[in-house]
């Protein structure tokens, strides 16, 4: 359990919710591993949108935007052509429900993990209109069927909007008699039902604009599993139209879609002013959230021109597109470009340092300003430079008295490292494990470490999106800078766990101890 006593005020329930979420994710990890659906909620939202676009395009050719035709055509599809049109209709509806569910979980998860702060404000802010558009296009979609549910939604939506004193005549008066509803309304609705998703797509692209290597498609196994599940649901519980809308008769038992219309029963039970205040207040809260809890201002990554070769690896690896290559400001006989950091987009993760080939503790450079021997990387965090990291490693190794010392490299967002310090284990904490260049691993082993344990966020759930992935690929010699061939990989263990998974970390340390013992004995 998290230490809730140390948290005060509103942070305690947030901490508890985060712990519950991580515990749930840990359960799902047992079966799903890196394709845990909770790590792919955003891309699943995209995926459900694709399903809706494809099924909606086909359904559009069958749909007749008239009062009578709208119900008749869809009812015919569901009853007479259940094997194709009916399945398509059900897929369209269930994908819409799936999108609302994943989007809601995505918002909740990002909120609990604090993924709205700092440079992430842009993705957060652009997500708010997305939510509104998802709901708007959904409401119109249900309306288009013009069954009893559509009637209920049309009337309630109009009554809800009528509270605003902007209409000369109440909108709900358009649904007093059957003769009030015209074919023109359905033509207007179908145009809106197509145009709002187009706008939605535009905002979805804007939403991921500042995210490097954004995932807009879930992994194949998750995508296939989800599609098969939706198909099974469509076959075994097809969506049917029910009764035709009739404004002369009141809706009795309405089969509400609770994913979209959970607030609708409140429209006549709660005062409208309360509902509108909740809606406006909630939207405002979401919009202002990035500025309600601002992180302390920290220095962004800085470039040391003398050490930057303009290779572009940092641009490739930065998860936030915060680095660009520009022509060199000072002429160099060999290098034409230099890295430039976009201050507004840097989140101080240090992944750029890990990707820089000059992040090498074996190098030495005389600092011109201080006049003393100082190690620099081409790009690094001023508050976490590689000189300090090198000194930290040497100091920690010097403090270990055991015969087989182990260095534990960890991430500030993963398992807290402090409690793991022991006679033979010394922790080295980094802003993100992606900051660890393989050269430092080689350095630590050469300077006396018997083994190393590298710990980071769970696979697919890196706080800084890609840090764990980049390091894994570097350690397996698939990504530059590579782990040197001469390094004995058997002395290196990895542990990718959430902050709450301390048990697993203890097990990994014990396993490494045993392995090191066997290696040295042999």
């Amino acid at each position: 359990m998290p230490d809730l006593k140390s948290r005060t005020g509103w942070m305690a329930p947030v901490e508890l919710c985060r712990h519950i979420l991580q515990a749930l994710e840990a359960r799902l990890n047992v079966f799903f591993g890196a394709v845990n659906p909770f790590y792919h909620l955003g891309d699943l939202g995209f995926y459900f949108f694709y399903i809706m676009v494809i099924t909606g395009t086909v359904l559009f050719f069958y749909y007749e935007p008239t009062v009578a035709g709208s119900f008749d055509q869809l009812d015919y599809l569901s009853r007479e052509q259940w094997y194709f049109g009916g399945v398509l209709r059900s897929l369209h509806r269930y994908a819409a429900d799936g999108m609302v569910l994943t989007v809601a979980l995505h918002i909740l998860r990002e909120m609990l993990l604090g993924h709205f702060r700092g440079a992430r404000w842009f993705s957060w802010i652009t997500g708010v209109p997305l939510l509104v558009m998802v709901y708007l296009s959904g409401i119109l979609g249900f309306w288009l069927v013009w069954n009893k549910l559509g009637q209920f939604i049309a009337v309630r939506t109009a009554e809800f909007l009528d509270w605003l004193p902007i209409f000369a005549s109440p909108m709900a008066r358009n649904f007093l008699h059957n003769s009030d509803v015209t074919n023109l309304l359905f033509r207007l609705l179908i145009v809106m039902h197509i145009s709002i998703p187009l706008l939605l797509l535009l905002f979805m692209l804007l939403h991921v604009k500042r995210v490097s290597k954004a995932r807009v498609m879930p992994p194949a196994s998750l995508a296939n599993g989800t599609l098969v599940a939706l198909l099974l649901l469509s076959l075994f519980r097809p969506v049917l139209s029910g009764e035709r809308a009739d404004l002369a008769t009141a809706s009795n038992n309405v089969p509400i879609d609770w994913f979209y219309f959970f607030p609708y029963p409140l429209i006549h039970s709660w005062p409208m002013a309360v509902l509108w205040t909740l809606l406006a207040g909630g939207t405002l809260f979401l919009l202002l959230l990035p500025w309600l809890s601002r992180p302390p201002k920290r220095a962004v990554a800085s470039v040391h021109l003398e050490d930057c070769s303009g290779c572009g690896y940092c641009v490739e690896d930065c998860p936030y597109e915060a680095i660009v290559m520009r022509e060199r400001s000072v002429q160099h006989p060999r290098f034409s470009y230099e890295a430039n950091v976009l201050e507004d987009m840097c989140v101080h993760c240090g992944i750029c340092t890990g990707s820089c080939p000059s992040s090498n503790p074996f190098r030495r450079r005389i600092s011109y300003s201080a006049g003393k021997e100082t190690l620099h990387s081409g790009i690094e965090m001023p508050q976490h430079n590689i000189d300090a990291l090198r000194s930290d490693i040497l100091q920690k190794l010097g403090s270990l008295t055991a015969a087989k010392p182990i260095l534990l490299f960890g991430c500030q967002h993963g398992v807290a490292l402090g409690p793991f310090g022991d006679d033979d284990v010394a922790p080295v904490s980094l802003p993100c494990i992606g900051m660890l260049s393989p050269a430092f691993i080689e350095f630590a082993l050469r300077k006396g470490a018997a083994g190393l344990l590298v710990s980071g966020c769970r696979q697919g759930d890196c706080y800084h999106r890609l840090g764990d992935q980049w390091l894994r690929e570097r350690l397996s010699r698939q990504r530059v800078p590579l782990l040197h061939r001469t390094v004995d990989s058997s002395r290196i263990a990895c542990c990718w766990q959430a902050a709450s998974d301390t048990t697993q970390m203890h097990k990994e340390i014990d396993r490494l101890r045993i392995r090191l013992h066997q290696i040295i004995e042999n």
């Binding site: 799902l28 000369a168 969506v239």
Partner: protein
Amino acid sequence: MKHYVRYLGQGFCYLLFIAFLGYFSGSPSYTHVPADKALIKFSFTHPGKRLVACVTQTRAQLQKLSPQLRYGKKCPRERSPLLVEFAMDGKVIYNAKVQPRGLSKDLPSPVYQRFIVPAGEHRFRVRMQDDIRKPGYPYFAKKKIKLKKLQTLVIDFNNVRKQFVFE
């Protein structure tokens, strides 16, 4: 963990997902109007009388205005609110002063009220005054109607015939 156990676990999770999705996409159903009740929608829009009568402007007053504003009559736009009363079986269930819409209060006053009542025979009485300066209710109607279960009765006001309509 063995592969088949992982696949079985994944299958179980997908099953839970679609069960959740399938159930809440249409259940539990919401009882909007109970089966033994009927719905009455009392709704109309009607413009109240203008609160201030038009005033004929003198030549001297007109001379002070720009040429494009020199109208013979000056008509303030504000309209009177409506006084509306709706009674069922001798009991007043809605009584309100309905303000006109618009920033200058020059648009019709809208009324939209809904009542869920037991099905069966009821006596309705509606009345309305569109000039707050005058006493009484010049527009008046009463009717006895037998409402069927789940029937929607609309009580509207016909602005051409100046009378209430029960549909």
